[in-house]
Symmetry: none
Subunit: 188 residues, 4 copies
Amino acid sequence: MPDSARRRRDPEARRNAIVLAAAELIVEVGVDAITHRMVAARADVPLGATTQYFDTLDDLREAALQLLVEHVEVQMQRMRETLAAEGATPAAIARFLSAAVADASGVEADRAVVTTAVRDPKLRELARAWSRDLIAILAPEYGEERSTAAAVFLDGVLWHSQINDVPLPGHLIENALADILGADSRTT
Amino acid sequence: MPDSARRRRDPEARRNAIVLAAAELIVEVGVDAITHRMVAARADVPLGATTQYFDTLDDLREAALQLLVEHVEVQMQRMRETLAAEGATPAAIARFLSAAVADASGVEADRAVVTTAVRDPKLRELARAWSRDLIAILAPEYGEERSTAAAVFLDGVLWHSQINDVPLPGHLIENALADILGADSRTT
Amino acid sequence: MPDSARRRRDPEARRNAIVLAAAELIVEVGVDAITHRMVAARADVPLGATTQYFDTLDDLREAALQLLVEHVEVQMQRMRETLAAEGATPAAIARFLSAAVADASGVEADRAVVTTAVRDPKLRELARAWSRDLIAILAPEYGEERSTAAAVFLDGVLWHSQINDVPLPGHLIENALADILGADSRTT
Amino acid sequence: MPDSARRRRDPEARRNAIVLAAAELIVEVGVDAITHRMVAARADVPLGATTQYFDTLDDLREAALQLLVEHVEVQMQRMRETLAAEGATPAAIARFLSAAVADASGVEADRAVVTTAVRDPKLRELARAWSRDLIAILAPEYGEERSTAAAVFLDGVLWHSQINDVPLPGHLIENALADILGADSRTT
DNA sequence: TATGAATGAGTCTTCATTCAT
DNA sequence: GATGAATGAAGACTCATTCAT
């Protein structure tokens, strides 16, 4: 039990802690606002650790964004599975989306990535791919155009949840999706 | 109405130039990235002028965001007028939106404001108000729920245009709106 | 008589003070060893002043080396004039050189520049030009080869003075130059 | 004389590799510019090895300079032997010097040491000793003054070779030495 | 009033050095 | 003993803000 200030060694964990802290902060204050000091404080590591593991702040940023991207892609994957299992009905999509939107960290990750994507070509391509993925799932059943419209609507739902405190009611999402997709299951 | 040298050293004009430059830069590089020097260079005024008219950089930021907000509100007003004149049909909305999305500066202003709104309560309230306004226009004809869904969809269109290079086809927007609003004018 | 910490404004003087301080320090500790802090302390200006006047430390270094170069070139010019007035005899050269070597700052400037020239192409070209200049002065009378040899010897004298505490006796320099140039004025 | 695995993990060899790498780097980038990391990379040893064998970077620097000094002293010794064998004639000295100057590493080592010697008393004493040695070899035949002048000239030749791309012609060196030493062998 | 020089706080980054493993 | 992770001191540089002119 050494009283030395030096922490135990576990590079992997440390690196992860730093990236996680950076990702959290990107979500909270924006990609441009993070600093080494901020990240170090959040990750509870000394300042030097942040530069030990990432040559530049930009490298760190990139790793953190990558983490957020993975977060989003896990959601995407989960949605794919859900829709495969339950069928890609408006009700199933709406149910999944309402749940997803209730999980703040997920939406915030998505929002952070999309926001950054506006100025970052690599992320922009990713964001487009997500859209394409979703469309690809829906298109066989609903056609390209309606599926695209649905994807656009889902983006709108995402942003709505970031600006408004009260979430959109599930039936609103479901009904709108049903309309957009040309399905027939309107409920109240 | 003094006809003396008024344009020369016109404080008002200078202030406006500074705010405009700041607004442009916010759109281009982000709220967090602007600096006094950047703004002064863009506005082609001496560095001191930026601190002469705004006590702090934050004040300047706020004024610039306000300008962007006004830009958006002009669009909103124009839309209100158009819909009042042409009727708030899906076709009219879609036509207006397609035109609006084609004007990069307008969408970018909106995007910049919305992005900032995520973390700025005052802007967030504004963004919500816009949504409410739009809904208020549509609700008498289409009901609260459908109108809300349409507003959400419009947000999605906005973001789509910021991430994708090719704009959504007008008929896609129109058809989706028709579906969402429960109108009957589907076209190809 | 304001008690403010702010100093009076005199950008020209300040810039000069900074460059001079940097030049002194380059001579004392080497081109690679100077820091903004060091220079600021020596010039008795706040740290920020060093970056106010020079965008990068390299810019400052360059300006300081330029000052040293000018110092050397003044010496060169003075020598040219002396030799023009007195004739380029070994005695005259030796007399001038002995005086020059006695002025520490002059020799140190030269030494600093030459040392840096080893790795800096621009300075290297300058150092070569000085050599060529000197040779050009002597060549008409003594021929290219002997003049070159004399220039080489003078470089040797310079370095000797930087390594040894006691200067070379004037008659040694004069006699060696006489021999090298093929003149006949050996003395004791 | 243990024949066990000795070359493996040979601490002596490792130490030497580190010192050699440091010496090379001092010649290439200057005494002030070397870092542990640089040296470790060049020597192809782990970072820790550089601090294992030398308590501080300064210790390492010193050892590296010592290596350069030895490099120079080998040259000196070789010259002594050559001049002892062939006679200390201008031709012999010039021949040796031309060869020496053609060996870049040798001159660079000397240049690095002399440059450092300006600010390092210990090295300065060494540099002076080299001069004294050379003078001592020549003095019996040519007298103190002429021998000193010759040594000074040789220093000039060294620096010339560090600043100029084309070496001094051998006959120039030989003739100048002949003149300086008062010998009679001028050639073309 | 208008300008830009002045200042120092705060940023990223590099590294000598220490020390756990 | 050998290795490289850990730490923080120090360096270059940027800029908001102040204020002399």
